[in-house]
Symmetry: C2
Subunit: 385 residues, 2 copies
């Protein structure tokens, strides 16, 4: 059900010919209210796509009526023509929905540099078609229409006492924090105000999508949006809502990790004993971005030397000669030296757990990443994105 | 001739059984003077191998009599036993050469965690054997003994008016600045003092080895050493010596790049129009470390979108919508939009030149890197380092 699981939302996904395969490529999600609360977080890349520049402004007042999303073209670095395409898309949706175009967000994903006249015509036609197909169980279709190299759609629903959050996500490559390459739309029928929605969204993404670092590459088009309809009539406690939203975000983040291009291992790097959470994150990320470590995991090699070489490049507080490293529960390095034999570690399962104890405090964080494989190289040398 | 090209040096390389192949694995370079000037720069990784911790202290007084180098084991994270091994190596060399052990540098390369009793015995025996084999044309043997996954030795000589600099290098993976994974020994018969040698070495490495970023992974064992014998009797102008040393370092850096594990392209990323040299370096490095860009080059795809997405993650001064990008002389992106067609670019040659004009100033820098290939993944998933 994804985004149409909560009350007050309609969605659709249609094929507009943007994908050469003829698969669905334009999605619309509409908030029928009574509240029209919206919040969004965006890529921190300075190279921003046109839909990002549009949506940043459109969401600023906390009011969002609808989101239009397309795959099959990023509309990034396509000049003022490309920005006009995004603007026209919002205007078309606003006109057909009877709302202000300034309350319509736009998201695009696909090849950078794609955004010509043909692209524009297909996006506009697709937007109209999708709005004509809106239904209160259209969430599944919408989740299919935002896929690019994804092998499967990502959907999740969290239900609490009388209110629900639903979400859909796409993303399979260029997955690095701030954010990973992803489009995410989440909807809830809880009663939220704009400030509460924004705070909950930022807090939840910080510990989920921002800790997914599949390949260290940050996209130009990332957007995570939360819409609240208030249709349940229930205003949950802020902590309750925040933890439910974080649960949904982590679920979607793990689905993204599990579908990362060409990966053969889903790696959770758990850093404990850090002096601060920031230290734990920077240490985890240094390992997640180390190609030699990632290639070793592909080869089922519990190479703790590469872990220490990676974390030694950070300025986090720890003594490199007083660190423990475990692979899948087997401590192979303690106090900067070998511990149990490498042969005791079984790295054949896809789920891989690296535990790094910095012995310098009580803070911790977990970074999710993937291994570096032949298939990753193949997919990213053959596919232009 | 490498390190024995200048007057006043002897060298040797012998097989001590550290490599399972039986190939040479211990090298010694000795300065016969009359000057015994030495300078060295080391990995900036906080995870330092035992020979780094030893050599940092030994070089501090600017006097170096000899360097002992081994392949077949990094002696890193091998505890106090490993440090004692390094200490004993320097003592053995000092005793046989009749010099202070505190004037002997030690370098090791190979698998992290290797440094047990067997390793120690072989290194000590190899050191004695190498010292027994010293000769004034032993530079070639020495350059062979420091190879690990290198497919060929790296040697270079620069001759000026009456004085010479020679050098040898090893390194094929874990090549990232500060320094790349490398051991380098350079020798000169020019008359230098310790301060001049140190200044020239730091200046030359900053624009050569520190701009080689093959895979973003920084090693625990990097060391670049310069020894001066003064045997030519000529004291060159500091600028002349500095430029000759930089030329030698760039030559060796390009040899390292050309032998990077599994690479099929040698990529020079030239950043011009930067507001500062530091900006040019950070922009070039962001591209050199972008796996999607590197995989695209492997696939002969001039994917300028990935270049812009990479540089957009930096805080360098430029407008992402006013940047030009050329691949092998063909400008495919101008002012944040498409320029000449991708089809005009020929990426089949191994030598690849990316030109990024930030249009924000007059500073420039070139970063050397390699593409991300199936063979890189294969070699680094199969080989433990």
């Amino acid at each position: 059900m994804s985004v149409t699981a909560p009350q007050g939302f309609e969605a659709a996904g249609v094929a507009a010919g943007l994908k050469s395969t003829g698969k669905p490529d334009v999605a619309v999600v509409v908030n029928r209210g009574p509240l029209k609360v919206g919040a969004a977080v965006f890529t921190s890349n300075r190279a921003k796509a046109n839909p990002i520049m549009w949506s940043e402004r459109a969401v600023a007042d906390g009011v969002v009526e609808a989101v239009v999303l397309n795959s099959g073209g990023a509309n990034c670095f396509t000049g003022s023509f490309g920005f006009q395409t995004t603007h026209q898309t919002a205007e078309k949706a606003g006109e057909l929905l009877g709302v202000s175009s300034g309350d319509v967000l736009v998201c695009s994903t696909g090849l950078i540099g794609t955004g010509d006249e043909v692209f524009r015509a297909k996006v506009l036609t697709g937007t109209a078609d999708a709005i004509g197909s809106l239904s209160d169980d259209g969430g599944e279709d919408a989740s299919l229409a935002i896929m690019t190299t994804d092998s499967r759609p990502k959907r999740a629903v969290v239900t609490r006492d009388g209110w629900t959050i639903g979400g859909m996500a796409k993303g399979a490559g260029m997955l690095a924090p701030g954010l990973a390459t992803m489009l995410v739309v989440m909807t809830t029928d809880a009663v939220l105000d704009a400030a509460g929605a924004d705070a909950a969204l930022r807090s939840a993404t910080r510990v989920s999508f921002d800790r997914l670092d599949s390949d260290g590459c940050m996209s130009t088009n990332d957007q995570v949006t939360l819409l609240a309809s208030g249709a349940s009539g229930i205003a949950p406690d802020a902590d309750d809502f925040g933890s439910a939203l974080a649960e949904l975000c982590r679920d979607l983040a793990e689905q993204l990790q599990g579908d990362a291009e060409g990966a053969s291992h889903d790696i959770a790097i758990e850093v404990v004993g850090a002096a601060s959470e920031a230290d734990a994150v920077v240490v985890g990320r240094s390992v997640a971005r180390n190609n030699l470590f990632k290639a070793a995991i592909f080869g089922n090699d519990p190479n703790w030397g590469r872990v220490l070489a990676a974390i030694g490049t950070t300025d986090a507080a720890f003594d490199p000669y007083d660190v423990d490293v475990s692979f899948n529960g087997v401590r192979v390095c303690t106090a900067g030296g070998p511990d149990r034999p490498r042969e005791d570690v079984d790295l054949t399962p896809r789920a891989t757990r690296i535990l790094i104890d910095l012995r310098s405090g009580d803070a911790s964080a977990t970074i999710l990443t993937n291994d570096l494989t032949h298939d990753y190289v193949h997919e990213n040398s053959a596919y232009s994105s």
